[in-house]
Structures are given as C-alpha cells and as structure tokens.
Symmetry: C2
Subunit: 146 residues, 2 copies
DNA sequence: CGAATAAAAGACATTAATATCTTTTTAAAA
DNA sequence: TTTTAAAAAGATATTAATGTCTTTTATTCG
C-alpha cells in the first residue's frame, strides 16, 4: 500500500549513504545492497535514477561509490516518490474514476482527500536529513532484518 | 496508490448493483461493465469473488444476474479490501522493513501509523449502504466517464 | 599505457496485476 | 424436454513491477 517497493529501496538507499557516508565517504552499491538486504542490481538501477536527479553523487572506478552532496539532506521525500512512483497517485480517485475533483466527487472523495493531504503534507515537508538524527539512526540497523 | 484497481472495480460494482438493484432487481454483468466502463470479464471474475463472500447474490440463466441481499448494504469497505487486496497492506512498513511495529520503528512509522489508522478506521466503519444515500448517488453517473 | 574497479547502461527473466477468451454449469421459459 | 440466457470456471494473453545478468564507460593506480 501507499508506495512501491522501489520507493522503499530508494529512500533506504539514500538514508544508508547519508548515515554511513559522513565526511563524503563513498559507499559502494555492494555494501548498500548487502546491508539493506535488497537486490543488488535492482537497487543499482534505482540509485542511478537518484544520482541523475542530483540527490546523490556517484563516481566510477576504484574507490568510487555513492556519496552525499549539498542536496542530499535537503531532499524532500516527495521528490523520491516522484522518482519512483510518480505523483499521479496523489491525485487519482481511489475508486478509479477518471476525474478526481470536487465537481463530481465519489462518496469517499472528501475523507480520502483529507488523509491524502496529510500524507502529501508530511512528504512535502520531511527531508532526508530529518530522518538521520541520532535518535532515528537506530533503525538503520534493522533495515537488514530479513 | 492506496488500493488496487480491483478494489475500485469491486466497490463500484457492488455500489452499482445496490443503487440500480432496488427491490431485488437483478443486474447483469454486461450492464454493469458497460455503465462503469470497466473490462467485462475482469469485472466478472471480481464479482464472482464478491458473491462467494456472500456480499451479493447471483443467479444464473435467463433473467439472472446480480442482486443485493441482507449483507450487501451492511458490508464494510474493509471487507471488500480484504477480498481484493488483502489486509497486510495496512500492517506493512512503508519502507519495506520486515517488521513494522513500535519496537524498532522506521523514522516514518509513527506518522504513517496515524494516517493508516485513520484510513483503517474509516474503512472499518463505512458500509456500502452509507455510500448510496440520495445525496451521494449522483456520482454513479460519473462512474462511466472515460 | 594497462590493469583493475566500480557505476552506468542495457538486455533479459520472473512475477504479479490486469485483461480477454472459451467452456461449463445452472436456471428459466417455450 | 429443448432452447436459451446468464454466471461460474478456467485457460490464455498482456502489461507493469520487480529482479538478474552482461557489457560498456569512467576512474584510479601501478
Ligand atoms: S473522486 Fe474519488 S477520490 Fe476523488
Ligand atoms: S516500521 Fe516503517 S512504517 Fe512501521
């Protein structure tokens, strides 16, 4: 529900690099995939898109890997969702009607719109950096839980 | 987002029969699919499951079709979700972690749990019959919008 | 330069969701 | 009883999401 697996992988990948990649240390896809118990090549594909968006840096070759940049910690979660799932999902009728709007709303529209706006608001405000505080960082270890 | 297409088809189908099938009039799959602009055979498969769950009645043969029963209007939306999507989706970590609980929550857990409980609450309380009041019924015409 | 390393890119595979088509079963009515 | 209509059932097809494998490109270092 809510979002695709790809989104989970993307956010977890970015978080891993953000947390483990302090001081610009470069992290390799191998390590990320292993630590997060995520399919390596699939993650690589997603990380490539993340880099293309400028949310992380990457360098090829020996001693290369993924590293954070100025944008990383300021990236809002919604931008990661865009990347992996698109944003139509915030605007489509929950019943699949073609036009979701106030004009001819389905009977769930109002309450769904409310819930949806909370989610959108949360994802529009929360930044990657907000999820990497000391108090939060514990969870990263549990990412690998199989 | 939120739910599958199947869920939308299921609810819309049940609503159509509930609204158009007053006095026990039987509605045929052909009519439902056409009026809702939904793939006929796919809808048939879903309606079969709805009937199996006892949420609608059906009769084969001439003058047959789908009709409402005592359960129909009292059916909670959550039961339709169960039918089409299952309910794990209300309990899985939004980041894909294996265990979503308070023990070792991901940094989004609390807010997501809140939003999720609203949705669960809404779907656990709302009944099919709540969506078929006069004021709401207008939308049924827009179901067909392509 | 040449070897080694790591991401980028792209081809291919699998699975789950969605969709279509055909056959079987049930029931009504002539 | 035969015909016909309609859902049930099941087989097959398509598409999108997820996952794997191979080749290419860029970078470092000896
Ligand atoms: S019209 Fe259905 S959610 Fe807006
Ligand atoms: S642990 Fe992530 S949503 Fe509960």
């Amino acid at each position: 529900m809510f979002f695709s697996k790809s989104f989970g992988y993307a956010l977890r990948g970015v978080l891993y690099v953000s947390i483990e990649g302090k001081e610009g240390r470069k992290i390799q896809i191998e390590e990320i995939a292993e630590q997060l118990s995520v399919p390596r090549h699939f993650l690589a594909k997603i990380m490539k898109a993340v880099v293309k968006k400028g949310i992380l840096n990457s360098t090829k070759g020996p001693y290369g890997g993924f590293s954070i940049n100025k944008k990383t910690l300021n990236t809002k979660l919604i931008h990661l969702v865009e990347l992996t799932d698109g944003t139509e999902l915030f605007n489509n009728c929950i019943l699949g009607l073609k036009n979701c709007n106030g004009k001819n709303p389905c009977p769930l529209h109002d309450e769904i719109a409310l819930i949806r706006s909370q989610l959108l608001n949360k994802f529009g405000k929360t930044r990657v950096g907000d999820l990497t505080d000391e108090e939060n960082v514990n969870f990263i270890k549990s990412l690998a839980v199989v």
